[in-house]
């Protein structure tokens, strides 16, 4: 998993909780990296699983909620770090439909070793989009938060629901435009 996920996560923990909390969850986890992350590095995804679990233990907030919140935070951070991310996309549907063939493809060019999740979507209608998430990592909650971050960014009246097809490894997201 790319280092940016780890460094952004720890920064969020320091900001939303405290630097002591960040230090505590690092110390409580068994991390091969020792908790030293650089955004351009690559680390084993089990480290984030441990960190989130320890945060959940300490804060009594469920892992799913923490990951979801982190997803929304991460999307905002992506917009700050990569302002060109949403260039050429006018709305959430447009952006999400090009996630796989445009954004992930560019990421793959920059980081050939990146192991990215897969998104497929149906043709849908102008008011409905069905996205299917697949990843060995099982970060459907993180994906959920990222999609919410995206909807929030475009400020659209869209309701998001999800249906698990295989735990958190394979999940179907349904986006529907609400009447305003």
């Amino acid at each position: 998993m790319k280092g940016i996920v780890f460094s952004e996560f720890l920064e969020m923990v320091e900001e939303k909780f405290s630097p002591e909390m960040a230090d505590a969850i690092i110390m409580a986890s068994d991390l091969p990296s020792g908790g030293a992350y650089t955004s351009v590095g690559t680390y084993h995804h089990s480290e984030i699983v441990q960190l989130v679990q320890k945060l959940s233990d300490s804060s009594t907030i469920p892992v799913a909620d923490l990951l979801n919140a982190f997803g929304r935070h991460l999307f905002e951070r992506f917009l700050v770090l990569y302002p060109q991310l949403t260039n050429g996309f006018d709305n959430s549907f447009d952006f999400l439909r090009h996630l796989e063939d445009h954004i992930h493809r560019e990421v793959q060019k920059l980081y050939p070793d990146a192991d990215l999740p897969h998104f497929s979507y149906d043709d849908g209608t102008p008011d409905r989009l069905v996205l299917e998430y697949r990843s060995r990592r099982g970060f459907a909650d993180l994906a959920h938060g990222l999609i919410e971050g995206c909807i929030q960014h475009y400020g659209e009246p869209i309701s998001l629901s999800r249906e698990s097809l295989d735990g958190t490894v394979k999940v179907r997201f349904v986006l529907e435009r609400r009447d305003t």
């Binding site: 460094s7 630097p19 002591e20 230090d23 690092i26 020792g34 030293a36 351009v40 590095g41």
Partner: protein, 438 residues
């Protein structure tokens, strides 16, 4: 925050920095290697391009050289073939009308076949050579102002005897214009017109009509069309008439080389012109050419009626000095001109003797082989002109292989005309008639 926590945080940040530096180092190295590979690839590509270019240049040079060899071979072969044709045709003509020892009708018939086939062969050799020269790009045009009605008249008078033989009436509506001048190579335009006119006679029906239409000037192009009353050509044949060696319909009855129209097409295209044909099978064909012509090049009105063209009758009694070191040619021309009745030949086998004879006899016309040994032909002409009695005497140059540029220089130097050898007697006779003012 306690200092231990800060220390741990500091250690983690430092470890992260070191990781980032190591990564940066690694990526830089990868980038450097990728650049090196790219450079090698580009160098390789450059080398490949250079190699391929060199190969192509070599191939092109070889092709050019092969083409030069082909042209040289054709040129040499044609010369080698024309020299014996000279003797075959010349002595055939002698035999044909030998007053001392006349041939039997059967022998005469055979001889006619020999002469006919010989001329055909000669024409074929000349045209193949022409085409080879055009295709190798060695044929240069010498454009000058051409008086088209005059050139057309000249060509019509050349085909007139053949037309008369077949009872074909020639009508020239072109004569109705008062002036028509344009820039063209007169020698080559003459060749094109002769080709079209002689086709119009050859492929016409007995007693038919060959008509030169009134010219038209449209969009800077002058069109000249020739209409015959022959069998015509079907649409499929019409597409092929300008292809070499395709003779449409009358291969067995009409004599020709099958490349006359091909040559005409190439020549007219070299002059920025066009050539084309229309035909109605059973009624006749119409061949036209279009040539660039200034707006004031054509002045219509003028003469009222189309002139029927008559074959001119040769007359006159004159003395012709003939300078040639080939005794067979001397004998041939001497006998032929003597038989012509009106002309006495003074044979001169060398230039020096020719000059003496010219001074002594003041001939009405001089025929001069350009390849005489000893004095250069231009020098000989110069010396002839030093005699006040020979200032205006027409001098005709004979040559087997004078290129147009040399012919032009010769004409500028004062030769009245060029005749290609082997000499075509009909051409010589009509030229003599013209120059001697019969």
């Amino acid at each position: 925050m306690d200092s231990e926590l800060l220390q741990r945080r500091f250690d983690r940040e430092r470890a992260a920095r070191k990781q980032a530096e190591a990564l940066l180092e690694q990526k830089s190295l990868e980038l450097y290697r990728a650049n090196e590979d790219l450079r090698k690839l580009a160098d390789n590509l450059e080398n490949q391009v250079q190699e391929r270019t060199a190969e192509l240049v070599r191939a092109r040079d070889e092709a050019l050289q092969a083409n030069r060899h082909k042209s040289e071979f054709l040129s040499r072969m044609s010369h080698e073939l024309r020299t014996p044709m000279n003797s075959i045709l010349g002595f055939s003509q002698l035999l044909e009308s030998d007053p001392v020892d006349p041939l039997t009708p059967g022998q005469l018939e055979s001889l006619n076949e020999i002469t006919r086939a010989g001329r055909h062969l000669l024409e074929l050799i000349n045209e193949v050579l022409d085409l080879a020269r055009i295709e190798s790009g060695r044929l240069n045009l010498n454009p000058e102002e051409v008086d088209l009605p005059e050139l057309l008249d000249e060509c019509l008078s050349l085909v007139a005897p053949m037309a008369e033989q077949r009872g074909i009436r020639l009508v020239n509506h072109f004569a109705e214009v008062s002036a028509c001048r344009l820039q063209a190579d007169p020698l080559r335009l003459r060749q094109i017109l002769l080709n079209l006119l002689s086709n119009g006679v050859k492929y016409n029906r007995e007693g038919g009509l060959l008509e030169v239409e009134r010219p038209q000037l449209h969009n800077g192009k002058l069109s000249l069309a020739i209409r015959d009353t022959g069998l015509g050509i079907d649409p499929a044949g019409l597409q092929q008439v300008f292809e070499p060696f395709t003779r449409v319909g009358e291969e067995h009855t009409v004599e020709g080389t099958g490349i006359g129209l091909t040559i005409s097409k190439r020549l007219i295209e070299m002059m920025d012109g066009e050539i084309g044909a229309e035909s109605t099978p059973g009624e006749g064909s119409r061949f036209w050419i279009r040539l660039p012509c200034p707006d004031d090049g054509l002045i219509l009105d003028g003469k009222a009626e189309a002139e029927p063209v008559e074959a001119e009758e040769p007359t006159a009694r004159f003395r012709v000095l003939y300078m040639d070191d080939n005794p067979a040619n001397l004998k041939l021309v001497d006998r032929l001109l003597r038989r012509h009745g009106d002309i006495e030949t003074i044979p001169a086998p060398g230039a020096e003797l020719g000059l003496e004879l010219a001074t002594a006899h003041l001939p009405d016309l001089i025929l001069m082989d350009l390849d005489l040994p000893g004095i250069d032909a231009h020098e000989t002409l110069h010396r002839i002109r030093q005699n006040p009695g020979l200032l205006e005497t027409p001098v005709i140059a004979l040559s087997a292989h004078a290129p147009p540029s040399e012919q032009k220089r010769g004409l500028e130097a004062g030769f009245h005309a060029y005749l290609a050898t082997p000499i075509r007697m009909d051409k010589l006779v009509s030229l003599l008639d013209e120059l001697l003012g019969a």
